[in-house]
Amino acid sequence: MKQRRVAILIPAWNEGTVIGEVITSTLATTGIETHDMIVVDDGSTDNTADVAEAAGVTVIRHILNSGGAGGPTTTGLAYAKAEGYQYVVTMDADGQHAPADVKKLIDAITEDKYDLIIGSRLIDSTGMLWYRVIGNKGLSFITKVLFGIGVTDSQSGLRALNRKALEQINLKSTGYEFCSEMLWRAKQQNLRVEEIPAQAIYTDYSIAKGQSNWNGFNIVKNLVKRKMLELIDA
């Protein structure tokens, strides 16, 4: 029988206030074992790693802060690959993803129809803040222009990867542009990509903590840089 070990990966930076609740509710809804949840703490200055450790999940503490979610995500994926996980679901640490959507992604990826599945907040953007809708749609459009990948929500942190995607996607970005880069690498490797609708939950905390639209400029700048370096490095 095929081994189906699923890991949930949470990249986190200074999320001590909410990460305990995110871990508890996600574990309860998905039925995943505590050791199969991986929290990668990106050099937080608060008690994020301690809270996660107290919850009994696997915690990887970054020695240096990577300056974005790409670094801890890459670390978590490398760890999951080394540990032999067959599927990995990544989610944000600020509580913006509903645990039920994480479960939905696990169910979808374990069907083995796709290599990479994105939990899109923009298929049905009801409840999403209007300026976040504009920002995310803009970045999805730029991702399409730069890499020719047409997805509705290129910046969603809720994703599921199978073993093939884990082995073939090699991320170079450490910042928030890793979301678009992951899609680009998936396209380069001819992986099967799909989107399923996911809810975005906004609280005062996640609004304050979340990315501003201004950070979109940094994402675009870094994506252009990555694309250029790929051409130069030929």
Partner: protein, 118 residues
């Protein structure tokens, strides 16, 4: 005539390096065949442009397609210096990026090794 020869001699090294790096990348399977061939064709076009710079300029002048003055020795030096600077900037940019990648990798490997498994 001599100025065009100098232009060719000063800049042909960039073309040879460009083609060489692409062939190396292709042999190491770092790029697709299509991309390597496209880039090599572009470099060959640049090389041909350098080789036939004088006839191209004359052709453009005869057909009133350019008003620019003939190449001066200063132009040759300035063009070469410009190309050299740009290529150095690209190489340094690329090296810094690679260094950054290695630092990230080190951060990743060390963090995983030092992590506490429950």
């Amino acid at each position: 005539m001599l100025k065009y020869v100098l232009l060719f001699l000063f800049n042909i090294a960039f073309v040879i390096i460009g083609i060489g790096r692409n062939l190396q990348a292709l042999s190491q399977h770092r790029v697709s065949r299509f991309r390597a061939v496209t880039t090599i064709v572009l470099w060959v076009l640049v090389g041909l442009g350098l080789l036939f710079a004088e006839p191209i300029f004359r052709y453009l002048q005869i057909n009133s397609l350019t008003d620019s003055t003939p190449l001066s020795l200063y132009d040759v030096v300035a063009i070469t210096a410009g190309i050299f600077s740009v290529s150095m900037i690209f190489r340094l940019y690329s090296k810094v990026d690679r260094l950054e990648q290695r630092l990230d990798q080190l951060n990743r490997e060390l963090s995983i090794r030092l992590s506490n498994k429950p």
